[in-house]
């Protein structure tokens, strides 16, 4: 009976693994293709790393330029939104005021506004302020994800017992000192997870990157979409670039896997 159960489990696992990975397999085989694109399932006739070389060194601008843009904007957004949302999340967590309670709910509503609604006004506002391009995009991402940061970090702060600060306050510390010296060090896992999610969302974002792009600030997501033009799909370059672009995210998430599940449970269950 146990054997049948095990076979059942491993079969399901195999199916799910194949389902999750097969597009990646196609990506890898197309990126290694030479003159002829791979024939369906198999690897291509001629294996070559030329596509990677082309995309990394020969194209102008090279892929690392776009990658760099994406990473910089995502990093700016995740740091900025963390800095802004941490104090607010702490206040929502510790304060007993009903007014702030209502405000927190309103933050949740903002998280739910469809982005397309804001796209035109943002485009107009950014043009008027002269903030098209990288600066504008980072600002927009910060703005879009701060409500997410507030929501998630409040959950983390709620997990930390208030008694810890109380004892510090009794000893004469100010609220602010208690926050900085006690709460923040304890919530490093939560901060890391929140920052990682904001980084992910900013990195993969496409619509605003497209709307606000200038020549110098094209992100990797826009660049990749550009390989799939109306007339032709440049499969080799596209898949080579795509594989390179996935690397930072894989590194980030495999490093964070330990934190991730714990983090989600703290945030989602309040």
């Amino acid at each position: 009976m146990k054997v049948i159960k095990n076979i059942g489990i491993y079969t399901c696992v195999a199916v799910l693994v194949i389902w999750s990975l097969f597009p990646f397999f196609q990506m890898v085989s197309a990126s290694l293709a030479g003159a002829r694109l791979p024939d369906e399932l198999g690897l291509p006739d001629t294996l070559t790393v030329d596509n990677f070389k082309k995309v990394l060194f020969q194209e102008s601008p090279p892929i690392l330029f776009f990658l760099g843009n994406s990473i910089i904007f995502a990093l700016l957004a995740s740091v900025a939104s963390l800095v802004i949302s941490l104090p607010a999340a702490y206040s929502f967590s510790r304060s007993n005021s009903r007014g702030l309670g209502v405000l927190f709910y309103v933050f949740l509503i903002f998280r739910m506004i469809p982005w397309i609604t804001l796209s035109l006004p943002i485009f107009f506002l950014m043009s008027k302020l002269g903030l098209i391009g990288g600066k504008g995009l980072s600002l927009v991402y910060t703005f879009l994800f701060t409500s997410f940061g507030v929501w998630l970090m409040k959950g983390f702060f709620d997990m930390i017992a208030p008694e810890l600060e109380e004892s510090a306050l009794v000893d004469g510390a100010s609220r602010f000192q208690a926050f900085i010296k006690i709460i923040l060090p304890l919530s490093v896992p939560g901060m890391v997870v929140t920052g990682a999610f904001v980084f992910l969302f900013s990195y993969i974002e496409y619509m605003y990157a497209l709307i606000l792009s200038t020549q110098n600030s094209v992100t990797i997501s826009v660049r990749l979409a550009g390989y799939a033009t109306e007339g032709r799909y440049f499969y080799r370059e596209m898949t080579a670039s795509a594989l390179i672009s996935v690397i930072p995210m894989i590194l980030l998430f495999s490093y964070l896997q330990k934190h991730l599940t714990r983090g989600l449970s703290w945030g989602a269950f309040k």
Binding site: A88, M112, I116, T117, T239
Partner: protein, 282 residues
Amino acid sequence: MEKRFYVIMCLPAILLVFVFMGYLLCHCFYLSFRAYSPLEGIDRFIGFGNYTRILKDKVFVEAILRNIVYALLVVGANLLLGMGMAILINKGFKGEKIVRMILIMPMVCMPTVAGAVWVMVYNQEFGVVNHFLSLLGLERQMFLGLSKYAFYAVILTDIWGWTPFMFLILLTGLQSLPREPFEAARIDGASSWRTFWCITLPLLKPVTAIAIIVKLIDTFRTFDYIWVMTSGGPGNSSQIISTVTYRIAFQHFRYGLGSAMSIIALLFGLLLFILFVKVRGK
């Protein structure tokens, strides 16, 4: 004294989000009541003109209906598949950590990348899907080129891409359930199906509800997959709210109309939020 401290701490976030958001919303609202097309030099107040025009426009109305279908199909599949994955991983087996990482990978892959790769996957000549069709003796199809298939092809891609999100949330939920009810059920001799249906599911309801609502709202925002794979085509067969709005606003430069469409999309979001509050209240 303390209250002042809290308020000050909140200020940057509140300023950034509320003020920014408030201004943007007002601007959007304002535009939606005007005909504004700078390229043609049009700029005048037309009251509800945009709204009536949109609600009478076949393409937009179809896009709304299609968006609803999109949302239901995607979230439904996310739920089923994600729950399956979560239960499987929760059972525990050798190598589960690696499998968990593998299952997350589609989410980590950019929608633009995933969309482009799935274009390859659906390709008539060398895509995987058609390869299997030909093995089964069926005719190869141009999935993204035919109006009857394109929309559903993108739905499948979306399911592939975002099920890991639902999976992670459900898995976390499963792993934080208390042991006692399950012990009691086991002692009483309940079958695993019964246990799942009568104990697991009801206990998971709060989290599942949140995940569903969040995901539903996300599908009304969705843009990337469809735009990269079909741009709303062929014809208008895969247009959804965000693609129609994008096309009108950023390709035809009719900003008044585009803003009105956005406001309608917002109303959907609000509707879903009210649902969210009601469900959470339970």
